[in-house]
Amino acid sequence: MHDICKEADAINEQLARYGVKFGIYKNGEFREQLFPFDAIPRVIDAEEFEYLEKGLKQRVTALNCFLRDIYTDKRIVKDGVIPPEFVYASSGYLPQCEGVMAPKGVASHISGIDLVQARDGTWYILEDNLRVPSGASYPLIARGLCRKASPETFRERKIVDNRDYAQLLRRTMDHVNTGGDNVILTPGRYNAAFFEHSYLAELTDSVLVTGSDLFVENDLLYYTDMGGEKRRVGAVYRRISDEYLDPMSFLPESVIGVPHIFDVYKKGNVAIINAPGNGVADDKGIYYFVPKMVKYYLGEECITHNAPTYLPYYPEDMKYVLDKFDEIVIKDVAEAGGYGVVFGNKLTKEQKADMLALIKAQPRRFIAQDVIDFIDIDIMENGKRVPRKADLRAFVLTGEDVTVWKSGLTRFSRNPDSFIVNSSQGGGFKDTWVLSR
């Protein structure tokens, strides 16, 4: 069988040619960095993917039910399934969204679900990303280049083509579009994911805009085209966070947002993808309740597995955290991107005492999880295969129906001792192959 790894340099050279980069700020200076690609793919066979697909569809369907419910009737709170403080005290809960119904009832259009596989083969959900999950563009562009660099591989193996992502995304936008153009709203070229914003705009035939390109007039959203004509916008795939979206309703200091866009949205005159307020559902504290949501809204057993999670908020879980501190990982629910993650056994005595005091003082702020011994994936380093930690971000698109993209972003840590795979912390990525048989 042809070894695609031999073509790694050729593929990386092509990725450089097309500017597959992410931006970082270091020492106050902006720099673009190539996102290192490792040619050994993650391979998921057909049967395994079928299971994941079923589980992810179910999970995202339940999360969308939750988002519709939580900003309206709050049945799940009234019925005692989720304690109210987990909703109201979540930093992702936006009271401004109370009573607002997203066009066609879809709140999480693009969901990025992070998974890892344990040594026994079980897949665990690490976290749900329902705000602005990024990363699909990387395996998308890499696949085309891999096919060029190693055609034999794609002749021999039955690998499902993943290059339909842009069409899926386009369909997702069109489904909720309220009349007008689709736009992708970027904070600008100095955003870490600007490559993705511009690449997806190209592939979906959307207009790439910044906040200052858009304006509201009489409760409709527009941009001005080159000829000075105003054109209506029907769907905004926004890549800026809720707080910065609209200085009239959220942070008044925001200069990258669009004044009044939230009012236009509330009146049903534009779709915002993903919907504002989604942070309440991908909060690390709410994560614990997702299997309960599946049961509550769908009346089904949850197919996907959460990592065994404990909420110090509940006394019996607090006891577990105190007893097993050296075997667990503590996560600060307010942090993201691999920050605020602490392994109990890596702390000094004083750090441990401080951490425990903090957990006791603010139990709602933390979750604890058993450390999963997950499967390492090989990467090539200096011509040798070496094992590294890796996760998988699956992309689930919700439009007329719910679709799991038959690929995903596999990120790995280049540091052999690290569990953190985020690109902002020096990780790389792989293609994810789903086999058709």
């Binding site: 040619r17 500017g19 190209e202 910044t210 390109d213 080159m226």
Partner: protein
């Protein structure tokens, strides 16, 4: 997609201008590099006058290094190439990843030349990428006005440089006549008074270079 925003039109226009500036000045640089090998070591002084840039250079070596590759020197070729890149990178959705790739590769080749003992050989690659870039613009960009804006920028820049260089009037007029249809195609807001003035300079028996340059600078309403 038929419509693009005002800011984007601006980026396209300057992408056209800067990539043309790099292309034209690169050829001068390579010719100058050759002359300064043995014919005239101080030829760079004349080049600065011709290019209409301040001579901040201390020697032939200093000029060849800094004017070519120093990102701190705002008149250097790499600075202009970076400006082309900065205008291109925000236009990926309109010009396409394939087209953008050639500007990206021109930057890589320019950096490779900077580190080489025989840079002119490698600079040929920069020229190749720029030519391929324009080929790709013609071949791949369907939007008539998007292409029109870029090409208008390209022609304006060429004329601007030729006027600064006091090129042969016949050559200047040829470039001028190639620019005219692009002005219309670009659908940009053209200042008719400047256009008329420019036409006056071009049809006069002798070209007043500075006058024509002044008219050219006001050609767009902003």
């Amino acid at each position: 997609m038929g419509a693009i925003t005002v800011d984007k039109a601006d980026h396209l226009y300057w992408l056209g201008r800067y990539s043309e500036r790099v292309y034209t000045t690169l050829k001068l640089y390579c010719d100058g590099y050759d002359s300064m090998l043995d014919a005239d070591e101080e030829f760079y002084k004349a080049l600065c006058v011709m290019l209409d840039i301040p001579n901040i250079y201390t020697s032939r070596e200093d000029f060849l290094q800094r004017y070519g590759y120093d990102r701190q020197d705002c008149n250097s070729i790499i600075s202009n190439l970076t400006r082309a890149y900065d205008n291109a990178i925000v236009m990926r959705d309109e010009i396409g990843t394939e087209t953008l790739g050639y500007i990206q590769m021109a930057v890589y080749s320019m950096d490779a030349a900077a580190a080489s003992d025989a840079p002119v050989i490698l600079l040929q690659k920069v020229v190749d990428h720029l030519l391929a870039f324009w080929g790709c613009v013609d071949d791949q960009i369907d939007g008539y006005c998007i292409r029109g804006i870029m090409k208008f920028g390209k022609r304006v820049e060429r004329l601007d440089l030729y006027l600064r260089f006091h090129m042969d009037p016949h050559e200047v007029r040829r470039i001028y006549h190639r620019m005219i249809p692009r002005a219309r195609e670009s659908q940009l807001p053209i200042n008719q008074a400047s256009m008329d003035a420019l036409e006056g300079y071009m049809s006069a028996p002798e070209i007043d270079y500075d006058g024509a340059l002044g008219a050219l600078m006001g050609i767009l309403n902003v």
